[in-house]
């Protein structure tokens, strides 16, 4: 059986690192997620960081904003690669769902994570 998918959280500044730490603290799952910051990066440098984090294995790239340099860098990197999928608008809820549902394809995991993240956005009565 192949290894479960990994998630690469791609963000501005230190957000990715904080999200990964929060998931580990809540879920107790280590190693399922890796943070990548775009701090000080142009697109080439971001691609190098993605290459190092992905390590040639199937992954879902969780990007902070639906637009911007993290998305353009991640989307260009993943384009045409069946073993990578990209989701934008990362939040803690989608990552918590993802770490427990990783025995699927990257595309399936991305779809599930996007649904889980969207369901978490609510206005309490």
């Amino acid at each position: 059986m192949s290894d479960p998918l990994r998630g690469i959280v791609v963000s501005h500044s230190g957000l990715a690192e904080s999200l990964v730490a929060a998931v580990a603290a809540i879920a107790g799952v280590e190693g399922a997620l890796l943070p990548v910051s775009n701090e000080g990066c142009d697109e080439r440098a971001l691609a190098d960081r993605l290459t190092a984090a992905i390590g040639g294995k199937p992954a879902v790239l969780f990007v902070d904003l639906p637009g911007g340099s993290c998305l353009t860098g991640a989307a260009r990197y993943a384009r045409g690669k069946a073993d990578l999928a990209v989701v934008t608008g990362v939040n803690l809820a989608m990552l918590l769902d993802f770490v427990f549902h990783r025995d699927v394809t990257p595309a399936e995991a991305a779809k599930r994570a996007a649904d889980a993240g969207a369901r978490a956005i609510r206005i309490p009565a």
Partner: protein
């Protein structure tokens, strides 16, 4: 209102542009000048994702930008024109073009042959020389990543 900001930023449309500058300028349109993006629907869709629906995004080649610069400056909405590098903004400004009076250097990042001028500005010698040429023609060049930061005059970083 015309184009309120001419910006060089190798990330093109991203958060600092849309939120950092777009909000205080009340931008109604963004012109992205890049020959490769102009030729790719996929790239254009990627950049559109980061822009709220009330801001129009125009994708232009360098040649189209040179032709349409006066029209964009007659637009009643405030606009932002983005170029990914020094060569592109210099080409849009052209030799005799008197329309562009100010250029903002917002993000030119490290790559081989460039040296650090500011935390977010790395230039080759040729790029620095091109900026000096633009300044010699009366175009005010400053570096400023976000509106709340100080605008650094060209002579302080080149």
């Amino acid at each position: 209102m015309s184009i309120a900001l001419y910006r060089v930023d190798d990330r093109l449309i991203h958060g600092q542009v849309v939120v950092g500058w777009g909000q205080p300028l009340d931008a109604g349109f963004i012109v992205l000048v890049d020959n490769e993006v102009r030729a790719s629907e996929w790239e254009q869709e990627l950049y559109r994702m980061g822009v709220p629906p009330h801001i129009e995004v125009v994708f232009a080649s360098i040649e189209e930008a040179r032709r349409r610069l006066a029209d964009w400056n007659a637009d009643p909405r405030p606009g932002i024109l983005l170029a990914g590098d020094i060569d592109t903004i210099a080409a849009v400004a052209g030799e005799e073009n008197g329309i562009i009076r100010r250029v903002n250097i917002g993000g030119v990042h490290h790559r081989a042959g460039r040296s650090e001028k500011l935390r977010y500005v790395y230039l080759t010698d040729a790029e620095a020389a091109k900026l000096r040429q633009l300044a010699a023609r009366g175009i005010e060049i400053t570096a400023q990543d976000v509106p709340t930061a100080r605008a650094v005059p060209l002579e302080e970083f080149v």
